[in-house]
Symmetry: C2
Subunit: 284 residues, 2 copies
Amino acid sequence: MSKPTWLHENFEHTGSAFGLRVTRKLDEVQSPFQKIEIWESTDWGKVMLIDGAMMVTTRDNFFYHEMMAHAPLYTHADPKDVVIIGGGDCGTLREVLRHPGVQRAVQCDIDEQVTRMAEKYFPELCESNNDPRATVMFDDGIAYMANAAPESVDVIIVDSTDPVGPAEGLFNRAFYANCLKALRPGGLLVQQSESPLALMDLILDMRRAMQDAGFASFRTLPFPQPCYPTGWWSCTIAAREPRDLTRFREADAEAKPFDTQYYTAAIHRGALAMPPIMAKALGE
Amino acid sequence: MSKPTWLHENFEHTGSAFGLRVTRKLDEVQSPFQKIEIWESTDWGKVMLIDGAMMVTTRDNFFYHEMMAHAPLYTHADPKDVVIIGGGDCGTLREVLRHPGVQRAVQCDIDEQVTRMAEKYFPELCESNNDPRATVMFDDGIAYMANAAPESVDVIIVDSTDPVGPAEGLFNRAFYANCLKALRPGGLLVQQSESPLALMDLILDMRRAMQDAGFASFRTLPFPQPCYPTGWWSCTIAAREPRDLTRFREADAEAKPFDTQYYTAAIHRGALAMPPIMAKALGE
């Protein structure tokens, strides 16, 4: 084992940095889209970086994956068809498939290498990839949503990297308009929406683009995510029709037939309590 | 203005790091107890480091100070006398004095230089230091609690650095026993209790020492705090008598006569929703 060193990621847009103590680089591949690295850390398990940005660690990915899946799925009345755009590490797919009511979950990530690396270094995240309800495909998520059958999906989860590089096209009006068309009545879109402390402008831009595309209601839920900028992260849920997104299937969430490390009905209620600093920035 | 550089703090005990982009060191003083530095950052305002550990930034200190003050004060039935041990930056004192019912608040930090630096570089945190209800003193907090009159205090807030160096004696049974003796019936002790993701052993040790000293009930509340290890932090409230610490003066908190950036009654309720990963580690 190598002598530990510190791997720091400096976030230019927030003026802050996160780092992990690592022992060695386990793997690196340059895919047609991006550079993927896997490091071994002393305390956080394995770490995946894409183009130098920390994406997943063994230790802390549960916050993000549980909130991205369970918050929208328990907010929807009866989600049967779920599409995940991005999500190549398969952690969101695993959480989605914990819901017995889900009949079909399609994961469409542009980069097959992300999933191959996840299978090798984060096998626990990929444990549901062979579920008969799952389709793991590698294609352009923008094209996939443009070609999706109208009113065929209940929940779309956009689990992408930041809005630069390959993921840029997942944060604009044209993409959201295609998502809206693909949603059935009652349908929801959820997207990771960066830090509510430092990146509120991005959340506002995203919500404006969703609104321009025709989405009717919005709610941004904060949660901890240590390895992302500022350690305080969020997802934004958008609804096809006007509705109160602070209401969710609380009784079902209380009785969820699976274990979690972070998400519970009470945590979901807590994430709906918007701190004044967020409410003010969002004009709510 | 100097060219920005990155100031990284590597947290040996969590294997993670936090950093800020800084432009220059504004001040540095070696007090009899510790080295205090002030840096100017590009996006987080000013930063205070004590012995190399980030203590306060202009931008993110509100999470910590609001939770350390308002969570225990709204959990107590009628807090009139408050003692803050440590807290030399005066941010907790400012929040405590927002409560009109508080008649007396004593801040006892061992290091006068911390307060002198706060007055100069974080004047907004010190804006209540001249409140007639406030006493800002510089003395050994351990001795202060050992000599405190029995049953004279309603809430003790231990707002200290980590349990190494000058603050080590604020995390043991002897100190807690003196706190217990100083509390009136209904009294509460609250202490910053490190990261619930990475430092659960410390929280368990702290709660065991509080229990050995005679405290009867405990509750650990998580909250975001970007500049501390993992960005997910906590405070632990201990009660003199057995009681349900998930109950607090919700109506008073809803109608609080002051503004906050993070704390609200709903955020307090949210912080009482213990994620399974914490509940499991705490055996709850």
